[in-house]
Amino acid sequence: MGKKKKVKNLETILTRAEKLFRKANYPLAKREFEKARKMVKPEDVEKLRDITEKIKICGKEAAGLKAEDLVRRAKKYARKGNPQEALKCFKEAYGISGEDWVREKIDRLLAILHDRDISKAARDAEASGEYLKAADLYEQIFAAQNRDDILFKRARCLVKAGRHKEAISIFRGLDVGDNSSLYDYGFALAKEDRYYECLKVWDNIKSQDSGFTEQKETVRILLKTDLYNRFKEAKDFGRIFDETKYLVNSAGLQGLDGLLEYSKYAWIDELWKEEQYETIADLITGSPTEISNAMVPLYAKTYFKLAEMSDTHLDDLRLFWLNAVYSGVSGKLSSGPEEDEIVRRELIQMAEGLITRHVNGEDGSAEDLLTLWNKEQKLIKDLHALVGNRQDLAHLILTPQLAARFGKSAEVLQLIRENMSFFKNREHYLTAGSYYSLAAQALFHMENGEYEEAIANLPNETNGDEFVDYGVKRVEFAYGLYCLENGGSKLGRYFEGSPSLFEISPGYEKELIEKAMNVYEIHKLTRYKEVLDVIHRIGPSKGIESALSIVMSRWAIEAYNDERINDKTLAITLRKALALDPENEHARGNLNDTKVDLERINLIKALDKHKMNKACKIAAESEYKEVRDDFFAFFRRNLDSLDQMGFGDKEKAFLLRDFYGWCARVDDSHSILYDIDVMLDQLE
């Protein structure tokens, strides 16, 4: 019995163990299997082996489950920010499973814990003022984490530790934006005597803090001193200029004007050798300083180079070139005055070549440039000749525009006034002066054909200045001519000064007369008549009288043909024209024609109204055959149509006798009288 029970127990245990095994409850299954193994007879080898195998599997599976559970717990600890506990679980799990990924987790956790420790150590070091130690620790953290914020911390610690160079090299590679980093970066730069860079960095800090403002001012003063020291070494003037300019512009620091100017020109000297003409142009045009005579050659040569390279700055070239070429007294360009003149001519031609090249390939504005160039060339040439070798006056050899820019126009005018005899005539003298006077701007507009601008820019008052007066008259005359051709109202006012202009410059009178002589259209004739009439009234001259006479007679004929005036006005106008110039054949011929026409019209009117005495008188007294022909033609028509008039013979004879009497009063030998006689004989 006992044996049977024992077998039964073993089977039960094994069944239960298998059941637990199938349900993956390996720990309990293992226990049951172990119980069963104790009960199996030693000779039942196969069963023992089978149970042992199962126990092994259960042990392995149970361990795996335990490891999984440990990993789960480890992750939970990691999530909750408890890396120490997580590490413990991972380590235990690794002890069970020995898997590589668990090992990696353990390594990573160890690294984090290590960094945490270093971060804390770094913070502690920083807090206790051990900045260098802190910087080193931050470097270690950065090596592990590669984060910019760690670099910032390191750089700032380095600044505080006095390791400025290292700090600068770190800041340089970072996008520094917050005030604290900006301040530290600038501070490190300042400590390395890099004041300009420091200020540029600090300019990004928006702070009104008095301590900071004061320190910034200190750095400015340090930069100023540094600039003077570097200037003494006479190198890198470009940087000195930039930094000085920055100081002057940003803080208005005093005592730097000389340094700014000096470094600029010293730099320009370097730039010229490097052929950096654009930069030079930027420097000289961007400069707020006034241009002096001494700068003119530099400006001229720079603009020449630029114009030569790219056809730009032609206007600037025009402004400075002639002045540069003529600046100073003779002999300055070469070894002697004669050679000097040849060199000058050569240089002018070179610049002119550049302008002409542009004119040929460009719009009208370049042509205007050439017009001004030619005008200014004449003017400066005169001044140059006038000054001659007088060193004290050499600074006045200027074109009008530059003279105005230098505020030297009055001095130039005085020079011209004092040397009136130098000029070949009064016109030459006044022309020269006018371009340096208040009328200059208007005159230059006029030269460019900008008549509206010219008239708009005339000075309000001449104040008795002969140059202004002459300039005004020239502009008004030119504007008047422009309007004569293009239309305008009340043009006479622009010619009121013309008589006195013509006295000085007869060429203008000739020009006007020539234009007038070539006018045929009624609207232009009307304008010319008005203008010539004004000039004639103010200052008559033979030429103007003739022109007015011709214009008047042409106008009268055109106006009559256009039915704007009647015969009488025509005749009156023609008589007036003839009175102005008795040699006006146009007026004379037309006046004769007009007289014939007038008598013929009067004759017809008289005949139509049966005013036979008046008709006879007109025909008898007329100098013109055409009038008498009209008279007799009238009676010839009446004779021819007498039969159709329905008269009786008596009435016809009566009428024919009247005809005979009237015709005989005009011409008693006219053939019509014979015909009337024949007709009367036939009736009688």
């Binding site: 001193t225 020109y265 000297d269 530099l298 240089l347």
Partner: protein, 90 residues
Amino acid sequence: MNPYKVLNVDCRVAKREIIQAAALALRERKFSGRDVALAQKQLLDPISRATHEFLHFIDVKPLLDKIDLCQQNEQKVADLDHLSVFDEIL
């Protein structure tokens, strides 16, 4: 063409030096023989030389001479001490 550049000489160069410079320039072959010959010719002719001197050289000395470079008395400044004002903001 800048003959001074072609011959690598400055504006004070003597005639003899121009000829020497031309020979050197021909050897160096930086410019064509034609350009070197032209440059030599231009610098040996006084008119042409004066023209090119005007075109290719500037003289800033008159401008520099006019400038008053007196430095004002050096201002004494405080030492640069690190400010903590921006640390507090952080």
